[in-house]
C-alpha cells in the first residue's frame, strides 16, 4: 500500500517542492484556504486524529482551545524527538519536509497564527538542513510570507535548534527554551493554548501529527476514519529497534499487532539468530515493559491498557532471551537521571538514588534491603512531580520488578546468570 506519511519511500525526491507539487502537494492548503478556519478545525476534529508525540490528545480539539479573535497566536512544531527508540520525525523532516510544512500551515490558518517555529533537537543537522531548504523554497514560491497563494493569509516560518536536552520535548519546557530560558517545564495551567510562547496562545503539535493534516483535508474525515480503530484512527509510524532483523521506521495502519510488527517479513522479520523473545518496551524508555502475552495486542492508543503499558510515540524496542532486565532498567534510569531538569526534588533526587541503587544491584553488591529501598524511592517519585518525566523514570524500574522479580533476586543473592548485554 502506498504510504500516507513516509511518501518519500514511494516517490523519489519528494523533498523538492516541484516534485511534491506534482504529486498533489499544497493542494490541501489551497483547499483549506477556501474553507473557514472553523471548518478546517472541524474536519481535523472529525477525523479522530490524535497527537503522535506520545500523549494522544485529540488534535482538532486542541486547536479549538485557542481563544477566538486572539491577535498574536503561534504554532510550534515539536521536533525535539529525544525519547530513546524514537526516530520518525527525523525521517519525515529529512525526506518529506513539505508535508510537515503544509500541515503546519493548515494548522496556522485554522488557529489564526502568523508565525510558526519548528523546534528541532540540536543534533538534527542533516534533517534541519533539508527542512531549511524546503522553507526557502516555500518563500520563493509564495507559500510562506505575505498573502500565501494570493489569499489574505500571511504566515512566516523559522527553524529553531535546541541544544541537547530531552526535557525540551515537554511542551512548556520547549516554549521556555524557545524564549531563551533554561528548558524547564512550568506548572500547568496556564496551558500553552491560553498562555504559551511569549505568553500568547500557542499550539504545540508533534511533527508526525502535523504531517497527517494535509491528507485529512484533501480526502476528508471519513476517509481517514476508515483506517484504524474507533479510538485510534489513521496511520502511525512505528520506530522498531533492538533485537530484530530489520529495525527501522514502518508506517502501519493502527490495529496491526505487535507480533506482526516483530515477525512479519515486511516489518521486523523476526529476532536475530532465531532467539526467543523476552520483553518489549513499546514506548521507548518511558513506558512500562511488557512480556510475550502482550504481543497480540493491537498497536493503538488503547491496545496495551490491559497489559499496564502504553503505545506512546510507538518507539518499540525488542529484547531477546539473553537480555538482562536489571541492566535494561539501569540504562533507562541512567537516561532519566541525566535528563531530569532538576526543578523538582522527587525527580532530581529520586532518579539519582534509583541510578545509584541499580548500579549497586547490577554489579552484584546489592542487598534485599537495597531492593526494598529502590521500590520505596520509586513509589515516592510517582505522582509527585511537576511534569511526566518523573513518572516515566519509574516505569522501567517498577515494571521490571513486577515482571522479572527473579532477576533482581538473583542479583542480590549473587547468582545471576545474566550480565548486561554480553
Amino acid at each position: 500500500m502506498a504510504h500516507i506519511l513516509l511518501r518519500h519511500r514511494d516517490i523519489e525526491n519528494i523533498k523538492k517542492l516541484d516534485v511534491y507539487r506534482q504529486h498533489g502537494g499544497y493542494e490541501a492548503l489551497k483547499k483549506a484556504l477556501t474553507m473557514t478556519p472553523a471548518e478546517v478545525t472541524n474536519v481535523v476534529k472529525a477525523s479522530g486524529l490524535r497527537g503522535r508525540g506520545g500523549a494522544g490528545f485529540p488534535t482538532g480539539l486542541k486547536w479549538t482551545f485557542i481563544p477566538k479573535g486572539a491577535q498574536e497566536v503561534y504554532v510550534t512544531i515539536n521536533s525535539d524527538e529525544s525519547e530513546m527508540g524514537t526516530f520518525k520525525d527525523r525521517e519525515l523532516l529529512e525526506y518529506n519536509p513539505h508535508q510537515v510544512i503544509e500541515g503546519a500551515l493548515i494548522c496556522a490558518y485554522a488557529v489564526g497564527a502568523k508565525r510558526i517555529y519548528n523546534y528541532m533537537r540540536g543534533e538534527f543537522m542533516d534533517a534541519g538542513y533539508a527542512f531549511e531548504e524546503a522553507v526557502q523554497e516555500c518563500y520563493a514560491a509564495g507559500l510562506l510570507g505575505e498573502n500565501i497563494l494570493g489569499s489574505d493569509f500571511s504566515c512566516d516560518m523559522a527553524p529553531y535548534y535546541g541544544a541537547g536536552a530531552y526535557i525540551c520535548g515537554e511542551e512548556t519546557a520547549l516554549l521556555n527554551s524557545l524564549m531563551g530560558e533554561l528548558g524547564q517545564p512550568w506548572s500547568k495551567p496556564p496551558f500553552p493554548a491560553i498562555e504559551g510562547l511569549y505568553h500568547k496562545p500557542t499550539v504545540v503539535n508533534n511533527t508526525e501529527t502535523l504531517a497527517n493534516v494535509p491528507a485529512i483535508i484533501s480526502n476528508g474525515a471519513d476517509w481517514y476514519k476508515s483506517m484504524g480503530t474507533e479510538k485510534s484512527t489513521g496511520p502511525k509510524i512505528v520506530c522498531l529497534s533492538g533485537h530484530v532483523n530489520k529495525p527501522g521506521n514502518y508506517e502501519v495502519i493502527m490495529g496491526l499487532t505487535y507480533r506482526e510488527l516483530i515477525y512479519d517479513e515486511q516489518y521486523g522479520g523476526g529476532i536475530p539468530g532465531g532467539k526467543k523473545f523476552k520483553a518489549m518496551l513499546p514506548s521507548g524508555g518511558s513506558g512500562p515493559v511488557v512480556k510475550e502475552d502482550a504481543l497480540d495486542a493491537p498497536i493503538t492508543y488503547e491496545g496495551l491498557d490491559k497489559f499496564g503499558s502504553v503505545m506512546g510515540s510507538a518507539s518499540v524496542v525488542i529484547m531477546d532471551e539473553t537480555t538482562d532486565m536489571v541492566w535494561m532498567a539501569m540504562k533507562c534510569v541512567h537516561f532519566f537521571k541525566h535528563e531530569s531538569c532538576g526543578k523538582c526534588t522527587p525527580c532530581r533526587e529520586g532518579t539519582y538514588w534509583m541510578d545509584q541503587l541499580l548500579h549497586k544491584i547490577y554489579h552484584g553488591h546489592g542487598t534485599a534491603e537495597d531492593l526494598r529501598v529502590l521500590k520505596s524511592v520509586a513509589g515516592q517519585i510517582g505522582g509527585r512531580t511537576l511534569c511526566a518525566l518523573g513518572d516515566f523514570a519509574i516505569n522501567p524500574v517498577l515494571s521490571t520488578i513486577r515482571h522479572f522479580p527473579e532477576e533482581y533476586e538473583a542479583k542480590v543473592k549473587g547468582n545471576s546468570p545474566l550480565n548486561g548485554n554480553r
Binding site: G164, G180, P247, G284, M328
Partner: protein
C-alpha cells in the same frame, strides 16, 4: 577577529527571526561555539553583550544544555550513542573499542588535539546502531573497519587544513589558566 565581527550579518539575521531577541540566545551560542570551539569566557561575554543579557544567564544555559562544551574539546568530537537501543546492538563494546584505539577514556581528548570521545543519550538513529555523531554529522551502521576508515578520513582532512589556531594550544592555555584538565587525557 571576534565572532561578533565575523558573523555580523548572520547574527542580525538570527535576531530578526524573533519578536523578542532573547530567543536568539541558543542559536547565537551555537554560532559562538562553532567559532571558538567551546563556550569560552569570550564566547559567553560576546553573546551576552549582543543580546543585553547577564553573562551568568549564558553560563547557566551552557551548563544546562549538553551540546555546549564548557571545556575545550578536540577538533573532532566523536559522540557515541550508548543508550539502550544502541547498546542492544553492541554500542557499549563499540565505545570500548574506540577508546582503546585512540588511547583515551570517555570525555578525554587525544594528545594531538584531534579527537574527543563522549558518550551520549539516544540520537534518534537507533535503527542504525552502532552510531555516532562527529561534530554533529551522523555516522551510522558502524563497526571497527568503518571506524578506522572514519579516523583515517578525518586525519587526512585535518592534515590538509593544517589545523588553524591549534586545538592543542587552546587546550593547553585553558589548562594553564588553572582550570581542571579532564580534557587532556591519556589514561
Amino acid at each position: 577577529m571576534t565572532f561578533t565581527e565575523k558573523y555580523a550579518a548572520e547574527i542580525e539575521g538570527i535576531i530578526a527571526r524573533f519578536p523578542h531577541k532573547k530567543s536568539a540566545v541558543l542559536p547565537l551560542m551555537h554560532l559562538a561555539q562553532h567559532y571558538y570551539g567551546y563556550m569560552s569566557d569570550d564566547a559567553m561575554r560576546e553573546v551576552a553583550a549582543i543580546l543585553d543579557l547577564d553573562p551568568t544567564h549564558i553560563l547557566s544555559l551552557a551548563g544546562f544544555y549538553t551540546l555546549y562544551y564548557e571545556e575545550p574539546v578536540g577538533k573532532y568530537v566523536l559522540e557515541i550513542c550508548n543508550d539502550l537501543a544502541c547498546a542492544l546492538r553492541g554500542a557499549d563494546q563499540f565505545v570500548e573499542m574506540a577508546c582503546n584505539k585512540l588511547e583515551v577514556g570517555v570525555d578525554e581528548t587525544t594528545a594531538d588535539g584531534l579527537f574527543t570521545i563522549k558518550t551520549v543519550m539516544c540520537l534518534a538513529a537507533c535503527d542504525r546502531a552502532p552510531m555516532l555523531q562527529c561534530n554533529l554529522k551522523f555516522e551510522e551502521h558502524l563497526d571497527e573497519a568503518k571506524f578506522d576508515a572514519l579516523l583515517a578520513r578525518l586525519r587526512e582532512q585535518a592534515a590538509a587544513e593544517t589545523i588553524e589556531t591549534s586545538v592543542v594550544e587552546k587546550i593547553t592555555a585553558y589548562a594553564k589558566s588553572g582550570n581542571q584538565v579532564s580534557v587532556i587525557g591519556n589514561r
